[in-house]
């Protein structure tokens, strides 16, 4: 009879030794590539580039070891509403100059706490009297070359005597126009349903009462951070496709969370890691950056992001091979306070058009564009192929043990 080994039979350090030597052996057995090697191949036109969907298909017949041999870069992409986005603008100085202390662009409030003529316009900013037009729309209007009305007020100082200005600006008149998004490209996202008797309007779309529909975001097996769940290649300095131009990952995104529950393949089953990104808006296109208004919720912006993942070793090959049947996400009730989890489903089920939750069949609909994400993955492949886009090794990797604080309310003393 074969003795079944159990983990408790090992002492812990023995277990770690064994795990580490198995991993070493595994690495020795399979090929390892460097960023430099892959960039040389990209430059000479010899690199093999697949989209994450293509490599998932390939993996049905090829092992991770074979995939490292065959594939150099895998392109991933997403095109979804990403509320934590916005633009840095420098308006240039007028004559006489003004130290702008209250700023409006087409009536939308912009941040006034950055020197005299620097500002940041958040995608979700809006004038409450005109909730359907917000920061994202201003950014899109500027991007499309339209004139935008700039109005600003100030108290007037000795060096900035002016108190008011009302003028028009456009993409050519402003200096820097930089997309800086503090939180984009969520690694996985929840499915939204509504168990209540009332229709609700959310950033996940319109949710019909009584579990009549379910909406999901992310592009599943094509989604950037799901293809590199441990963030081995995506870190500070990673060059990416952003809004139709080259951009960069500059920091972990806000609400960066790496210790959320994962499935047996190590992929988070709910929203986890995020990235902060930056890029030159003057090079971008409204094809990949779209203002949006969600009924009774507010303004947001669809952002197109594509990230190339270099297939450095078998471990990364295994990660990018993941398919929709292996990626799971949580179904949350958006109609109930605290959003209780009602179930867990795969992207394969979500994309089939219906899921089963609590014994009930529910129709599904996406709220992020897979068609656009595919277009981005293709565009990024073209850039890589024609040598105009180099892959970059992160200057620093992200932390791996982060969690989040809630906002715990504390009593405020009356003064």
């Amino acid at each position: 009879m074969i003795k079944k080994w159990k983990i408790k039979d090992f002492k812990q350090d023995q277990f770690f030794q064994l795990r580490s030597s198995v991993f070493q052996l595994y690495l020795k057995m399979s090929k390892i590539k460097t960023y430099e090697e892959i960039n040389r191949k990209l430059k000479s036109g010899d690199a093999v580039i697949l989209t994450a969907e293509e490599v998932s298909k390939m993996a049905q017949e090829a092992s991770p070891e074979e995939i490292v041999e065959k594939v150099d870069v895998v392109t991933t992409a997403t095109f979804g509403a990403m509320c934590s986005s916005g633009a840095i603008i420098n308006f240039g100085h007028a004559n006489p100059p003004i130290r702008m202390e209250k700023i409006r662009l087409n009536g939308v409030p912009c941040y006034e706490g950055l020197a005299a003529v620097d500002s940041y316009i958040g995608a979700t900013a809006c004038d409450p009297d005109n909730p359907g037009y917000g920061g994202a729309h201003v950014i899109q209007d500027l991007l499309e070359g339209k004139d935008v009305v700039l109005e600003a007020w100030a108290k007037g100082t000795d060096c900035y005597p002016r108190k008011h200005i009302k003028t028009k600006i456009n993409i050519k008149t402003i200096n820097e126009f930089t997309l800086f998004n503090p939180r984009n490209a969520y690694q996985n996202y929840n499915v939204a349903v509504n168990t209540t008797k009332k229709m609700i309007h959310t950033y996940m779309g319109t949710l019909l009462p009584g579990l009549r529909n379910a909406t999901y975001s992310t592009s599943g097996e094509l989604s950037p951070l799901l293809n590199d769940p441990e963030l081995r290649t995506i870190g500070i300095g990673t060059r990416i496709f952003l809004g139709g131009a080259q951009g960069f990952v500059i920091w972990p995104g806000t609400q960066f969370h790496t210790t959320k529950p994962k499935n047996e393949l190590g992929v988070p089953v709910t929203n986890a890691a995020t990235i902060a990104v930056i890029g030159n808006l003057k090079e971008m296109s409204s094809e990949y950056l779209q203002a949006a208004y969600f009924e009774k919720y507010g303004v947001s912006m669809f952002v197109g992001i594509g990230i190339p993942i270099p297939v450095l070793d078998a471990d990364i090959a295994r990660r990018v091979s993941i398919n929709n049947g292996q990626i799971e996400t949580s179904v949350l009730d958006y109609g109930t306070v605290g959003m209780p989890k009602l179930g867990q489903v795969t992207y394969k089920e979500l994309q089939s058009g219906a899921i089963k939750v609590q014994g009930k069949k529910i129709r599904t609909a996406p709220v992020s564009s897979l068609a656009k994400a595919r277009k981005i993955a293709e565009e990024l492949r073209t850039w890589l192929q024609n040598g105009s886009f180099e892959i970059s090794k992160p200057v620093q990797l992200f932390p791996i043990d982060t969690s989040l604080n809630s906002l715990n309310e504390m009593e405020v003393e009356n003064d």
Binding site: G205, L208, Y293, S369
Partner: protein, 136 residues
């Protein structure tokens, strides 16, 4: 036999005539009322599906027009800016008539206007505000 949906707009003076009765009786058209609305001032709108011989439907529509009812095919009253669509899928989440669906291969939006029941839920659901339906 053909099947086609029409939007009918009734002026105040035509509101109490049994026009649909005549469509059935005189023109042998099967009618299916999908949506009806009465507005202040005795004006009304109707979404009707007409099923019958092509020439009978043409005659029926002519009959309605003679009685001062504006009768237009549904697809002419639905305005969708397809060229601006980003194929996000938000509208498909609310369309239970099956008029708006995602193509499961290309993941692009497909819109079969003749399946629309004018529930109008797609109008607010579209984050780019690309739908307009002219029912009234």
């Amino acid at each position: 036999m053909i099947k086609k949906r029409f939007i009918l707009n009734f002026p105040p003076e035509s509101g109490d005539k049994p026009l649909s009765y005549h469509l059935v009786k005189d023109y042998d058209i099967r009618i299916n009322i999908l949506k009806a609305e009465v507005y202040p001032g005795k004006m009304g709108s109707l979404l009707l599906e007409l099923q019958g011989k092509k020439e009978n439907i043409e005659k029926g529509v002519k009959y309605l027009t003679q009685h001062h009812v504006v009768c237009e095919p549904l697809d002419k009253r639905i305005h969708f800016q397809a060229e601006k669509c980003i194929d996000c899928g938000n509208c498909t989440a609310v369309c239970f008539a099956g008029a708006l669906i995602m193509n499961k291969k290309t993941w692009k939006l497909e819109f079969d206007k003749n399946k629309c029941v004018v529930c109008e839920l797609c109008i607010p659901a579209c984050p780019l505000k690309l739908f307009e339906i002219d029912f009234r």
